[in-house]
Point group: C2
Chain length 205, copies 2
Amino acid sequence: MGDITIIGTGNMARAIGTLAIAGGNTVEVMGRDQSKADDLAKALGAAAGEWGAVPAGDIVITALLYDGVVPVVVEYADALAGKVIVDISNPFNATFDGLAHSEETSIAQEVANVAPAGASVVKAFNTIFRNVLEDGRPNVFIAGDSAQAKASVTAFIESIGLRPLDVGGLKMAHWLEGMGLVTVGLAGNGVGHGDFALGINEFAG
Amino acid sequence: MGDITIIGTGNMARAIGTLAIAGGNTVEVMGRDQSKADDLAKALGAAAGEWGAVPAGDIVITALLYDGVVPVVVEYADALAGKVIVDISNPFNATFDGLAHSEETSIAQEVANVAPAGASVVKAFNTIFRNVLEDGRPNVFIAGDSAQAKASVTAFIESIGLRPLDVGGLKMAHWLEGMGLVTVGLAGNGVGHGDFALGINEFAG
């Protein structure tokens, strides 16, 4: 299908990379630790890119801890020009009942503030536990201001067999981050033994 | 099952009242306009209470527009002592991409701030469109600080054939209100032709 670059070498990078490859996408992995990027790329059957270089993928997924996303986008700078940047992070506070940042924003919006010309930001995947991404067929909520970028991300999500659900503009990323909190809250209350994801349930009209 | 009082005579009062009666609950309806309360009570096969009096129900559902909930709880004052107050409101801003109030709170938390001694507040039902409540089997997210109050509301929700999902303490009501926004956002993007609700999807472990 498409060309995807994943920045990050952790569990979510591995889970999304595995699905992306299985879905027929060309995948590149980038990590600050080149040996980790090489290892993950090899494990996935992907290419390893060079940290900070122009990503090969049109879609660049920042599979990083939330406090790393904005600094990395700043560091990549013009290397991300024209790219669709997908932020998957969850900025939880220490007690998992609020967000770590000012409640008026989201990591995705902060990324948009520092992204280079022509880049678009889409929030996606943050409401899904890694194990569910590996084993389930969860819905994927997306938010973004660029219809074109959301169309690209929608095609990618469909290529990996999942259903994208467009909740609106990038401002809604704040509420998707809240839904990350809700997901953790449900799991903490024993819902679904952790094998669930927020999604929609449909009913006959 | 239980004794439920619904304060309000609008569409949500009617939808929840219908389900409550069908679920075997004793239902009382209260409205500032007594004739509307009488009419709805008659239509439901419920009792009509007197505005401002001590509700017959242990659970009191405020089926009111969001900006009416806190004033009505203040007006009822000690008449609500010891009750479980269920706030179902959605405080949307004019553009449906944010909440109408300070983003650090929720209507449910504001209700808790003015509720009388012994009353507990539970947020519930706000993520569900009325038509889905009438025709579907949506999940019902709940949040509250009192385990006993949540157990009462859980029993009520189960009595009407729906699945309660406990997301945590009352502070999480803020994020449930955000999920109301997400629901509207999804509908605005054509998801499920409006015949859907946010809920969980479970996967084999």
